[in-house]
Every structure is written in C-alpha cells, then in structure tokens.
C-alpha cells in the first residue's frame, strides 16, 4: 500500500480523509474481516458517486483510456474456472477499462476516479499474488462499478449458468456478501448447460479462511456436510439446517442501533447463499427458510434479545416437531390402512418416510414383504435395505434394470418425494418416474408419501428446466482394477451426466398420502391454497 500512499500525497488535500478510510476498507477486505455497516455504506456511496460521475460526462479522452489500460494488469485466472467462463472476463475487462477511462470534466471527481481506478488495480495485483480464486472473481465485479445495482435482487429459481449476465449478478451478490463463488467442473451436456455442475473434490469451504469470521462455523460445517453428501435426503437436510440456525441464533448478538427482527434476517442471507453454493437448496429447505424469516420479522421491536432468541428457538423446535415428526406419524397412520396382509410392496431408494411407514406397519403385525429397487451411482437402496432387514422385514433387492421382471409380483408401490409441485407433478430421486411409468403399465397402484411442508409453488412439466447435476466423476466405476472412464475429460465428445432429480406426471400417481389425509395428485394446489389461507 506504500505506493498508493505516496501518490495520494500528491493529490488534493481535502480528499485525503476519504482515501484513508477507503484504504482501511480495502485492508479489511483483504484480511477477510467482516466489514462494519459504516464501511459497507461508505463503499456503496463511493461506488454510487463514481457511477454518477461516469453518467455525467461522456466522451472519454483517448489518452486516459490507454493509461488505464496499461495500469490495469490482467487478473490472474484461477485454474479451477471452466472454459465457459473465459468469455465472461474478457468483455468485463473491456468495459472496466472504458469505465475507468471516462474522464469527468470536473477536476475533483476526475482525480477521485483516477485514484479509485488505481486503487482497484493495486488491489487486483495484490490479490493476484494471494491464493484463492475467490479474490480474483471479486475483483472482476469490483472493477465494473457501472454494473452495480444498489439493491441486489434475489437470484430467480431458474438457474442460468450459460447466461453470463446472470452469472455476473450472482458473482456480484456473493462478493457483496463475502461468500466464496464455486466454479463449475467438467464438460456439461448441452441440454443441461444452464445448471451448475460442481466437483465434490473442491467444496467452497476450501476458499474460506480459518477461523471463519464472516460465516458462522456451524454453517461452514453444514455446507461441507451437504457438499460431500454426508447429510443427504430431504428431511435430514432440513432438520440439520434448522438445528444449525438454532445455533446461529444462539450465538447472535444484536449490534447497537439495530433491530433484531431486521438485522438477523440480513445476517442469514449470506449463510443461505453459502449453503446454496455448497449444494442447491431443496424445496423443503426453502419452505423452512421462508418460515424462519417470517418468524424473525414478526418479532416485536420491544422484545428483549434473550426473550426473542428463546422464542425463535421454540418456533424452530415446534416446526420440526409438527411438520416433520408428527407429520410422519400421521402419514404412517393413513398409510397403514392401505397395507393389507399378503401385500408385496415395492420401494425405491431410501426415503426416511417410507422406511418409517414400513417399520410401523410391521410393528402393527401386518404381513407383507418388501422389494427394494436400487440404482447407481448413489446406491441408496442399500441403506433402506439395512434398516428394513434390521427390523425383521422380509426383503428382496434388485437394481432398477430388473424392474419389469419383478413388477408382476408387486401389489403396491410406495414412493417418497423430494417436493410436490403446484401442478401435481412429483419431484423425486431420478428413477422414480421410471418406476411409476412401468407400474402404471402393469396396473399396479402407485402411492406417494409426502409431508405438506414439501409442497412447493413451482410449476414444472419436465425434468430439464430445473434440476441438480451431481459430480460427474461419480459415474466412473473401477472393475477388476480397470476404470475405463478415468480420462473422460480428455475425450472432447464425451459428457457424463449425473442427474439427481426427476419429475413424475400426476397420471402415474394414484394416491398421495400427506399429513392432511389421502388426496389425489391433482389436489395439491387446493392444499397449497388452504395452507396459505391458514397463514
């Protein structure tokens, strides 16, 4: 920072204070400390000022442009950035130099702009030496203040990874929240190029400094557990999320001159962004977060901090209890009515709810046997098999390729769901719609079990529009010491697709069992309507 110091001495006197403060901010940012609210405000003001200056004067002199171009070094591109993103930095760079070069006629503003650009370049060069791709990504949007919006909108449901503008917005938002941006990995099949594809070997937790000061450590831990697949399954993820939020609320202390109801919600936003970088949020998690945010903003301002915290924790506990634990009891009660003696029940993968139902039915002395269908690469059926056999239930295990072979024996199919969409479609683990389709062809009734907190306002008719791409390296299998797909990245025309979810139309589903009762698949919007009226 010594160089810029010297240059500032030459500059106008009355602007020194501001620059010093700017330096402090830049220093704090480099060390990864959380910016205080004043520092953030100042930063925002500076950017606004610069934007205004740029708007005031058009017609940049060529001389300045060239000077800026020379002084701004190319930001070091991290190795992990995919080729698709190389296009994005190039236009960004051009606009950056143009913006920095547009000289305002007024001398004060002109010098300030120059100084800012110089500081940006200094920071960029400094950060280029430091490790971590995150810094580089953050410097990119920093150098284009003309694209900053004062109010960052929430990223829409439809992820648009192949749209550079949307990506830039996301990067800017994450940079503002000081959350690391995770970069995509490997070649993506063109139909799914609008989705993220991450590698399990590079979780975003690698890019966070230790000890984590910006993001609460239990959130970092949760993010790691999500991205490595240690916590998997819709209910498990939601419950883990809620417990972590309880911890966060416990450790939270309201800063002075702030209201808990507003500040805590703002505190949670970067955590949620971080978690969605680790693994995209599920519908159930989305609903849980909405509920918590509503509860927090409903805290009256005169409520004392301890009392408010206690209330929030009680809210979270009651949510878990009502929507997940008691709901599964209610669903088991209804589902057991549908299981008769002598039934052969087919289940797919590992759904905590379906396993719970079968265990309860077995306890109630129903005589049935279970066929567990499994599929690669997750092989979750083995976990379900383990749980059922431990209870003493007679089980058979097949892979999904043998489905049409065993279906003539089956009397009912029980499926779990990840989410139920507003048009009656069922979103569940990939392979579920296949099972429903073949079961329909054999006239076997298909029952879907789903708690109401997984009902979601989204509408989808196919599995392409919104899905999740898992690590493509999972598909590489080693048999007899040989793994043929090991170097799949070198083959230009080869893409590995590891989809996580698929969507089943309501015509294939005969019955949905929820905690409100047994409803046909087409009645999901009615339940959503009733729920919204309740709230």
């Amino acid at each position: 920072m010594a160089d810029s110091d010297g240059r500032q001495v030459d500059g106008v006197n009355h602007a020194t204070d501001k620059d010093v403060k700017l330096q402090e901010i830049a220093l704090a940012k480099n060390e990864g400390k959380e910016l205080t609210k004043e520092e953030k405000q100042r930063l925002r003001k500076e950017k606004k000022q610069h934007k205004k200056n740029k708007k005031d004067d058009k017609g940049p002199p060529e001389k300045e442009k060239e000077k800026e171009k020379a002084s701004v070094p190319a930001p070091s591109k991290p190795a992990t950035q995919s080729p698709a993103h190389k296009a994005a930095p190039a236009p960004v760079h051009a606009s950056e130099s143009a913006a920095a070069a547009e000289k305002p006629a007024k001398s004060k503003a002109e010098l300030r702009a120059e100084r800012r650009a110089r500081q940006d370049s200094e920071r960029t060069s400094k950060q280029g030496k430091k490790e971590g791709g995150q810094q580089s990504a953050s410097s990119k949007p920093k150098a284009t203040p003309n694209e900053l919006q004062p109010v960052v909108k929430r990223l829409p449901e439809h992820v648009q990874v192949d749209d550079p503008a949307a990506l830039k917005k996301l990067a800017k938002k994450l940079e503002r929240q000081q959350v690391p941006l995770r970069s995509d990995y490997g070649y993506k099949v063109s139909l799914f190029s609008h989705l993220h594809q991450y590698s399990r070997k590079s979780p975003p937790t690698l890019q966070i400094s230790i000890p984590a000061t910006v993001i609460h450590p239990s959130i970092v831990r949760l993010g790691l557990q999500y991205s490595q697949g240690i916590i998997a399954g819709s209910n498990a993820r939601s419950v883990a999320l809620l417990h972590t939020f309880k911890q966060v609320i416990q450790d939270y202390s309201t800063p002075p001159n702030e209201e808990l109801s507003r500040d805590l919600v703002n505190k949670l936003s970067p955590y949620i962004s971080f978690l969605s970088q680790c693994r995209p949020l599920s519908a159930s998690m989305g609903n849980a977060i909405k509920y918590i945010k509503k509860e927090i903003s409903n805290i009256p301002s005169q409520c004392k901090e301890e009392e408010a915290k206690g209330k929030l924790q009680a809210c979270i506990d009651s949510y878990i209890n009502e929507k997940i634990i008691l709901a599964s009891e209610a669903i088991s009660k209804y589902a057991i009515e549908k299981i008769s003696d002598g039934d052969v029940i087919l289940v797919y993968g590992c759904s905590s709810l379906v396993n719970h139902i079968l265990c309860k039915a077995f306890e109630k002395q129903r005589k049935f046997r279970v066929i567990v269908v499994d599929s690669r690469p997750r092989l979750e059926g083995r976990e379900a098999l383990r749980r059922l056999v431990k209870k003493g239930i007679r089980c058979t295990y097949v892979l999904i390729s043998a489905l049409s072979y065993i279906l003539p024996e089956v009397s009912k199919v029980f499926l779990g769901a990840h989410a139920l969409l507003a048009n009656g479609y069922v979103m569940s683990r990939v392979g579920t719609s296949q099972i429903a389709l073949v079961a329909k062809a054999y006239n076997v009734p298909v029952l879907v079990c789903c708690e109401t907190y997984k009902f979601c306002e989204r509408v989808q008719t196919d599995s392409f529009v919104s899905n999740e791409l898992d690590d493509p390296d999972d598909l590489i299998v080693t048999r007899n010491g040989k793994s043929h797909l090991e170097n799949w990245q070198t083959v230009k025309s080869l893409g590995l697709l590891n989809l996580v979810y698929d969507v089943t139309p309501p015509d294939f589903v005969d019955l949905v069992i929820t905690d409100l009762g047994m409803i046909p698949c087409t009645s999901v919007p009615v339940v959503l309507r009733v729920k919204n009226v309740d709230q």
């Binding site: 009762g517 046909p520 009733v530």
Partner: protein
C-alpha cells in the same frame, strides 16, 4: 331407543322414493331429539353408535357417508352456549336444515343434468337409480325426444323396475342383458349412471356392472356421466376393486351370517376417476379431480 330407531328407519326405507341416506338422516335427527345425554361428548358418542347401528341394518355406502356428513354439519357450529339444551336446539335446527337441503338436492341435480341430453339422444343407464330417473323426467318435461337402454342388472333385476318407471313416463325404453353392454355401446350417444358413493379420488361406487360399462364407454369414446347428490361424498380412497371395504360390498345380513365371503357375489364395484367424464352434483358440475377439492372443503 336403538331398537325403536332402527325399526323407524326400516319403515322409512320402505318408502321407495326416499334415498336410504335421507331415511338414515331422518332417523338420526329423531334420535337426536330424543337423546338423554348430559354432555356434548356423550351426545356425539351416542350419535356415532347410532350411525354404526344404522350401518348394520343397511350396509350401503350412502348411509355411512350421509351419517358422517350429518354429524359434521350439526357440530360445525359454534357450540359455545353453556346450556346443553340450547346447544341441542342449535344442533336440531341445523339438522333440520341439513335434511331440507338434501331433500332438495335430487331436484337440483336433475335441473343441472338434463341440458346435457340433446334431442334425439340415445342413453344407456345401469340398474335403477332415482336420480337418473329424475334427470330423465326433467328432460322429457323439456320436450326432448330420446330413447333409453337399461341393463337388467342381476341378481336383483333392478333394471326391469327402472324400465317400468320410464315406461310410465312415456319414454321409449329397451332392456338389455348385462352381457350386452359392449354390443350396445356403439349405438348409444352417452351413458348416465347414478352412484351409491363418490370417493375421494373422484371415482364412484355403484351397482356391480358399472365398472364394465365405464371401461366399454372409454373404449368407444362415449361420455360417461355420473349423477349423485353431495351427501354421497365419502372419505374412502380405494386403489382398486380389492381395496373397497367388505362391509360395503355385501348386504348387511350376508356379512353377519356367511363365513367364507369368497363364495358370495359383491353387490357393488368401484369405477376409477380416469373413466368418468363429469359428475353432476347439487354442488355443481364437477370433474373427477374437483371432487377432492369439494371434499377437502367439506371435511377439512
């Protein structure tokens, strides 16, 4: 009191024009008036026992659904009066209201449905249904010309009764064998049947042979209409024929006496919602998926 009530119930049942569910509700209302219990909870218990008793006498789906709906309707008011007799009066009032509403429902259905019968239409119906009769009556009164085919509907030959009633209304009618449904389907324009119960999925439970007729009409792309009053909506969700409870399939006395039900013929079958085009109820003209909406509104 139980014996008196079931005796009265069977008396009402013998009136051919009254639906069995209406008779059941009437007797439940009488029972309510004569009930001696001291608490609301005791009252509800007695009512539930009375409904069970009624189901033992007549095991049709409609009785069970009507009874449950009646119970719900009367207890859905604010029973905040501290005095029990006042509460009871409120309940009795609501019971009378309910009874009046459902006695009018058949007329409402008739009015809704007869516009779907066009001049020159050929209609196929199954067994004997008073609601279908009302619909055809309304259509005939509207000066529409149509012919009706009725299935015989064994084992009780109820179809012949229906044919007689239609003949009295001067409507040209032909009786066909149950086995001739596939044969006659290409001649008819639409199929109208009644229902003993409408289930949560939007399917119907009706006299045995209805499912066959629905499958045939689907194969021939003929519209399959069901006419039913709203008190027939029941909280069942059968997945297939086997899933319908035995207490509805067989007559009450058979259930009590016969040990091996496999030798008996079921009296009803279940028609899934995918085969039904529209349902005409006093709540309006509904698609099968809308039935669940209505049920959620009624029960939740």
């Amino acid at each position: 009191v139980d014996e008196n009530q079931s005796f009265r119930f069977s008396q009402w049942e013998e009136d051919p024009d009254v639906a069995s569910a209406v008779a059941a509700i009437r007797s439940l209302l009488e029972f309510l008036k004569r009930d001696q219990s001291e608490t609301i909870l005791g009252l509800r218990e007695n009512m539930t026992k009375a409904i069970q008793r009624l189901e033992e006498t007549d095991s049709s789906v409609a009785v069970s659904s009507g009874g449950e709906l009646f119970l719900r309707f009367i207890s859905l008011t604010s029973l905040e009066h501290p005095d029990l007799s006042q509460c009871k009066n409120v309940m009795i009032e609501r019971g009378e209201l309910f009874l009046k509403k459902i006695s009018l429902s058949r007329g409402k259905v008739g009015k809704l449905c007869h516009t779907f019968i066009k001049d020159g239409a050929k209609i196929l119906t199954h067994s004997s249904s008073r609601v279908v009769l009302k619909v055809l009556e309304n259509a005939a009164a509207d000066n529409k010309r149509f012919t009706v085919y009725v299935t015989e509907s064994q084992p009780d030959s109820a179809g012949k009764l229906m044919a007689q009633k239609l003949h009295n209304l001067n409507i040209p009618v032909t009786v066909v064998l149950d086995a001739a449904v596939g044969y006659i389907m290409e001649k008819v324009d639409l199929v109208i049947v009644g229902a003993e119960g409408v289930v949560e999925s939007g399917g119907v439970i009706n006299k045995i042979g209805t499912y066959q007729m629905a499958v045939c009409s689907k194969a021939h792309n003929k519209p399959f209409y069901v006419v039913a009053e709203s008190f027939k909506f029941v909280r069942l969700y059968p997945l297939n024929q086997q899933d319908v409870p035995d207490r509805f399939k067989y007559k009450a006395d058979i259930l009590k006496t016969v040990k091996d039900l496999n030798q008996e013929h079921p009296m009803i079958d279940y028609t899934p919602p995918s085969l039904i085009t529209l349902l005409f109820t006093d709540l309006g003209v509904l698609t099968p998926s809308a039935v669940s909406d209505e049920l959620i509104k009624l029960y939740l």
